[in-house]
């Protein structure tokens, strides 16, 4: 089996799974309880928070654990605006993940002036166009760090600087789910991350909220996470998350090189097939782990099924949107339509992948593409 769908989710690191298990079966105490054992759990969670905060170049008190990337994104958008008075403009990019995009649609229902910032053919936000959308009543801008379909990396620091110049009162939220640990930390007001994209288990994420930004919580309860996110602390998830990112931090250069190596190798192999198109930035410029290519004259879903039978797992778009044929909002926004959209396949890598896999995968793809092209609509 060759797993090239790491942007959907990654295998959990054995070490992270062991730690989660330890905190489920032995150190299972509720950190909110009063006895010594639970105090120790609380300290462990604090250490995990400090660890993740330092990797985000933030203070521990600025990091709040959530259940996933979607919750982090929803909290950032809905919660920060709920803490403001009045209404105004909200800008999100046209290629955001549904957890930002759908939240923006909901905000529009609630009377906010929601605008979508356009992107170029690679999926990167166009700065001049964004600048022209920044009106004085702009309250929030949400832009993803790495485009989960194309691997384009947005110039977040430039966007932040632009905003501080033109609309100093507005907040910048960044969906960092595909970028955390893979790209360097950026300047922003809020940043969302998710554990299972980095070899932690599913069910844990975090939101960085820079001081003094105010976010109104939407879960009411016992006041965990400094009142930001009530609900019994997910200790096993948090500890595993911390362990997984520590491992990544320790081997960061090596892991990034491994992913980039697989990506470049697969790209050069696939470029030899006729009638293929790259969707996204030049492979050496984009994120190290995402490659999107179109195989003209082949239906992405059919190719995906054929490859899956051969043990190669890929995606026809982010897993959250994979079942909406011809309506790939993200590729549409990038201007990738028709046959090129139909034939698009996303490959996403982790450091567990190897160049041998890239060679084998390319061979399988070439076989299936040429087989399927014999049966193209004529």
């Amino acid at each position: 089996m060759i797993y090239f769908d790491n942007s959907a989710t990654t295998p959990c690191l054995k070490k992270a799974a062991e730690i989660a298990s330890e905190y489920m079966t032995e150190k299972y105490f509720n950190p909110a309880a009063a006895y010594a054992a639970s105090v120790q759990t609380e300290r462990d969670v604090s250490a995990a928070r400090a660890n993740i905060a330092s990797l985000l170049q933030a203070e521990p008190s600025e990091v709040f654990f959530t259940s996933c990337g979607t919750e982090s994104n929803n909290t950032a958008l809905m919660g920060s605006l709920a803490a403001m008075h009045g209404r105004g403009r909200v800008i999100v990019s046209a290629v955001e993940h549904p957890s930002v995009y759908e939240a923006a649609i909901e905000l529009r229902e609630r009377g906010w002036d929601v605008q979508f910032a356009p992107v170029d053919m690679t999926g990167k936000v166009l700065l001049p166009e964004l600048a022209s959308l920044l009106t004085p009543d702009t309250r929030l801008v949400s832009i993803m760090h790495v485009n989960n379909e194309s691997g384009a990396v947005n110039a977040i620091d430039d966007i932040y600087a632009l905003m501080k110049r033109n609309v100093p009162g507005a907040l910048l939220h960044v969906d960092g789910v595909q970028a955390f640990m893979k790209e360097a930390p950026v300047r922003c007001d809020m940043y969302s991350v998710s554990g299972h994209k980095l070899h932690a288990p599913k069910g844990v994420g975090a939101l960085l909220v820079r001081k003094p930004v105010r976010v109104k919580p939407y879960l009411m309860g016992g006041g965990q996470e400094s009142g930001m996110r009530s609900g019994t602390t997910n200790v096993p998830g948090i500890m595993a998350f911390s362990a997984a990112v520590s491992d990544f931090a320790e081997h960061r250069e090596e892991y990034l090189d491994a992913m980039r190596g697989v990506k470049l190798r697969l790209y050069s192999n696939l470029s030899r097939i006729r009638d293929v198109r790259l969707n996204g930035p030049e492979p050496d410029k984009g994120a190290p782990h995402i490659l999107n290519m179109s195989f003209m004259g082949v239906r992405g879903e059919v190719l995906l099924n054929a490859l899956s039978e051969k043990g190669l797992y890929v995606s026809t778009g982010s897993a959250c949107a994979a079942h909406k044929r011809g309506k790939n909002r993200i590729l549409n926004a990038m201007g990738i339509t028709g046959d090129r959209q139909d034939g698009a396949i996303r490959f996403s890598f982790s450091h567990f992948n190897t160049v041998q896999e890239a060679d084998l995968a390319a061979q399988l793809i070439e076989e299936q593409v040429s087989l399927l092209r014999r049966f193209r609509r004529r």
Binding site: R299, E301, V302, L304, N305, A306, S308, E309, H323, K324, R325, L372, R374, F375, R377, R378
Partner: protein, 389 residues
């Protein structure tokens, strides 16, 4: 007082000497629908009574019965002793519940039936007496014999039955009383509706699905299983045959004229389905075709498809518009599953410009030019069979 479900049935009373056979089939189907609820089912003078259903199962039992073909309507009723005062008190307590939140001036009417002719009151008297007692207790109500908001019904039989609601059933004929047929099921909107409609006329169904492994996904397959399951809520147990069709499709694609591929594919599907149907003792095929809906459903194309088999082919949707079909799909609960967008075998290998007026001689010639017999054997051999209930 006992809670019972009073079931009225449809056309069965038209069936003369066959009537006991239809009634037995209906009762069997009801028993199957109420599996696990230990129902006691009794037939009596054109009614069927379902007893012994526990309170927590009552609503579910009602729901299941309204999906059994042959049932005209179902009323949840209170069964009491025929003693007049007992009947009145059961009726009043039923009304109590009903008028609790009703606005003043709400209208009602009493309907009475009496099969026990020895009973102290005749139907008219029952209506008048009981109507009076209801007005006495609930002075805010008004009588309206033409268009009442509440219909309080009393039936005097071996017992007395009192009820207010009459919930519409699925109508039709009891499944199994009309024989067996095989449904060609695709995963779209039409074929489950076609299956539903023919099961409604009393047919027992089996279903045949063609898939293009590995080019269609496991989800597409799950979708067909789920659709079959939804149809089986009405039609009872369905044997589902999953036929691998990729080799045949690829051969057609490579060796036959491209604009004929769709019609040829359909001819071969019909042939295979007929083989499977015969093996099952089925005497007809059912498809979801509707005249002119797509290129393969023009009159010419249907004639060519029909020519591939000798069994009767039922096309219950032939004269329906897409909107009408979608309405039925929504009503029977298959629509939401049908519109899940997965590639199916009909969309993987299709020509851009299929012929809309195929000529039978051309198609027969194209088909004869390739020897499909081994591939058909192989497809049937590799068919997977599932029992869906």
């Amino acid at each position: 007082m006992e809670k019972v479900l009073l079931v009225r049935y449809t056309e069965i009373h038209l069936k003369g000497l066959n009537r006991p056979y239809f009634e037995r089939a209906l009762v069997d189907n009801m028993k199957r629908a109420l599996r696990g609820m230990e129902p006691v089912i009794e037939r009596e003078h054109g009614r069927i009574y379902v007893r012994n259903i526990s309170d927590e199962n009552f609503a579910e039992a009602l729901d299941r019965l309204t999906r059994v073909f042959g049932i005209h309507s179902v009323s949840p009723a209170s069964a009491v002793d025929k003693d007049w005062e007992t009947v009145v008190s059961a009726a009043l307590s039923l009304m109590e519940e009903r008028v609790k939140d009703a606005a003043p001036g709400t209208t009602f009417k009493v309907l009475a039936r009496r099969s026990d002719k020895r009973y102290m009151y005749n139907s008219d008297t029952i209506c008048r007496e009981l109507g009076g007692r209801v007005l006495e207790r609930f002075p805010g109500l008004k009588v309206d014999v033409h268009d009442p908001e509440i219909k309080l019904s009393v039936e005097i039989r071996d017992n007395a039955y009192v009820y207010c609601d009459e919930i519409k059933g699925a109508n039709g004929m009891p499944t199994g009383t009309a024989g067996k047929a095989s449904l060609l099921i695709s995963g779209g909107i039409d074929s489950p509706v076609a299956g539903y409609m023919m099961a409604k006329r009393g047919l027992t169904l089996s279903a045949v699905h063609f898939y293009s492994y590995p080019y269609t996904s496991e989800r597409a397959r799950d979708k067909v299983v789920e659709l079959t399951k939804l149809v089986s809520k009405y039609a009872g147990e369905i044997k589902l045959f999953l036929v691998p069709f990729t080799d045949i499709q690829m051969t057609i694609y490579e060796k036959c004229p491209s604009k004929e591929t769709t019609v040829l594919m359909r001819r071969l599907m019909m042939k295979i389905a007929e083989r499977i149907a015969r093996g099952e003792g089925a005497m007809a095929l059912i498809t979801g075709e509707s005249l002119g809906q797509v290129a393969s459903q023009t009159l010419e194309a249907l004639a060519v498809t029909n020519d591939a088999v000798s069994m009767p082919v039922f096309r219950p949707l032939i004269g329906f518009d897409k909107d009408e079909i979608m309405d039925i799909a929504r009503r029977i609960g298959t629509y939401e599953t049908s519109i899940l967008p997965y590639e199916d075998c009909c969309t993987v290998f299709v020509p851009k410009h299929p012929v809309t007026k195929p000529r039978l001689e051309d198609l027969r010639a194209s088909e004869a030019a390739v020897d499909f017999s081994d591939m058909i054997e192989k497809a049937i051999e590799n068919t997977e069979i599932m029992t869906i209930k």
